[in-house]
Amino acid sequence: MTSKHLKAGAVFAAAALTASALAGCGVGSGGDTIKIGAVAGLTGQFITAEVPKTAQRVFDDANEAGGINGKKIEYIVKDDAGNAQRTAQVARELADAGVVAMAGSASFTDCDVNDGFYRQSKISSVMAVAATPKCFQSPNIAPVNVGPFTLMTAVLLHATQKLNDKRVCNFTVVLPGSEDAVKEALARWEQLSGQKLVVDDQTVQQSGDLTPYLLKAKQERCDAILFNPAEQLVVPWLQAAKTQGMDDVDFLLLAPAYTDSVAKAVGGLGLNVYAGSEFEPFTSDSLANKGWRSAVSRGDAQPTAFSQGGYLSAKFLVEVLKTIKGEITRESVGAALRDMTPIEDPMLGTPWEFGPGETHAPNQASKIVRLTGLRWVVVDDTFITVPND
């Protein structure tokens, strides 16, 4: 019995070795493809598998249309499982595999861990989903999404300009490393609106009951409350608010809360809930979303806001690659990204460009969606663009 198993194991191991050797040779001799990499969470706490999946479809489309100057794009996606060590390791694996750029990355640790490495190895990243300040502070990374900081300002502007809220309060979970970016985003709103936050609590904890925060908001008579965490905390937050009878308060949320599962879970409460979107709202059946919808369904990926990031980052990189004359290397891709003409896309409120800057935050516009019944509905079909000060 055991020896049989051993034999089977040996055969399997040999087969696996052969296969990987073949695959290895394939990579070694494959100089006639353009290799593009991505780091995403395919397993682990935060799964963003739909992002590279959608990007893959865009690259496949480009390949089917003849590729870039006759060369096919080879898209290599690595799973970092949300683990910082893996994030560092897979970036090096991608560099060793010979990627010329990154597109469609959706990892929460990528920017913080790999920024230095990307600079050293001259890799440019057109990031799909950026969530930490570092992603917006690197010469080598340009995200396509708005990001949580600009989005804070945009959502607060919506409250003061469109909803006429006077007593605006902020309850924020600040992740380590984001302190300054959060403060800056709030200060930007204060400057633009001329208002001050009535309550500014940046010490919200992710564990335990959230009711005490809501009681504070109630005591201070807040008429708009910004709350930044992701879905799993937004649901108990709104449920507790309902329990405390806060029916006339405007609840402002960020893009991580703008999902179908949140709508289904708390849509029935009947509270005033608004969220800022990163792109053209993904629940909208608009013409702007047509290309993305087609890619996401043909790519058999989940149609989420994150997948829009995957779609756009791949699309923009393909457009830039097409402008390159001559050999496509890390250097030539970097140069093309720096010199590119800004791309207008109906899914974005501001033109997207990588550009020559030391930092990049090209997307500065959001559309606001409102929870109506069990669905998110676009409130106002124009982008709120956060003006530069």
């Binding site: 397993t43 682990g44 706490q45 935060f46 799964i47 609590d201 010490t203 904890q205 992710q206 564990s207 335990g208 009951d209 009711t211 005490p212 925060y213 009681l215 504070k216 109630k218 005591q219 992701a230 879905e231 799993q232 905390l233 937004v234 649901v235 108990p236 449920q239 507790a240 329990t243 405390q244 009878g245 999902t259 599962s261 949140v262 289904k264 879970a265």
Partner: protein
């Protein structure tokens, strides 16, 4: 005023911590295992319940299935403990449960999805009364009543009944108990099953109020252990008090500006203080 309201709000979470602490204590008192996987086992059942309920099963059969899932899982862990670790030290047993915890969290995240919230049904979510400016729901009342039951029933069972006597015998001297004819393995399986179902019930009740992902629910074990430690891993009444006090403390802490950012570490602080206090008479040199 805000302090009072926050404390009242904290009572509810406290009830939940007490519930979890009491089921952890139950496992410890009856089968002598400090079970780090207790909340994870409970979360497994709770998520199974939600999954079935979302798939169209009515609430009560779904809850029953969830309880059975957790009970079965806990019995499975119990079998491992009785089979291979019956004579092992408490430390080894605890280590096994830590390994189980890690495994369960990994499997749970895979099975139940990490980021999307589940719709935990909250049938008792209507307001019961208003106290100190806080609207208290029936969920809170039910949690408290259950916590009191969890505290009283095992005490009575252990002190007043023959079954309790047998259970105490088997937890303190398993081999001796077996030698005098107590059917230890069978009895302890009943205990494992009950404790598993109890923690599933606890998680089902508190889940709608706390972060709704599997990992966060499984981590409820930290305040639970803090509560059990307040009870010296012996007293059900003090564990109840410990859990409730911890919840109230967390509520209060979020109203004090200098303390609010440390709210999350309070359970650890309580563990530390209790350990230092209970060991204050130990002479460190003689212990070494």
């Amino acid at each position: 005023m805000l302090q009072l309201s926050a404390a009242v709000a904290g009572l509810v979470t406290g009830g939940a911590y007490a519930l979890m602490g009491l089921s952890t204590l139950l496992t410890y008192r009856l089968v002598a295992v400090v079970n780090f996987a207790q909340a994870a086992v409970g979360a497994f059942g709770a998520f199974a319940m939600v999954g079935l309920h979302e798939a169209g099963l009515p609430l009560f059969p779904a809850v029953a299935c969830g309880l059975v899932t957790s009970a079965a899982l806990h019995v499975g862990l119990g079998v491992v403990m009785v089979r291979w670790f019956a004579e092992a030290s408490e430390g080894v047993k605890a280590a096994v449960t830590i390994a189980t915890f890690t495994g369960l969290v990994a499997v749970g995240l895979r099975l139940f999805g990490a980021q999307h919230p589940r719709r935990f049904p909250s049938p008792f979510d209507s307001p019961a009364f208003t106290a100190g400016g806080v609207v208290v729901t029936w969920t809170a009342v039910v949690t408290m009543v259950l916590a009191v039951l969890f505290a009283v029933l095992p005490t009575v069972l252990l002190k007043r009944t023959r079954i309790g006597l047998l259970l105490r015998a088997q937890s303190e001297r398993p081999t001796t108990a077996e030698l005098i004819g107590i059917r230890v393995p069978r009895l302890s399986m009943v205990v494992w099953g009950t404790a598993g179902a109890a923690s599933a019930l606890a998680i089902m009740i508190v889940a709608p109020r706390l972060a709704g992902d599997f990992g966060s629910q499984a981590l409820l074990i930290t305040p639970a252990l803090a509560a059990a430690l307040v009870g010296g891993f012996r007293s059900f009444a003090w564990t109840f008090v410990g859990g409730v006090a911890l919840g109230v403390l967390q509520g209060l802490a979020s109203t004090v500006v200098v303390l609010q950012q440390y709210r999350g570490v309070l359970p650890f602080l309580v563990i530390l203080v209790v350990l230092l206090w209970t060991r204050r008479r130990d002479r460190w040199d003689s212990a070494a």
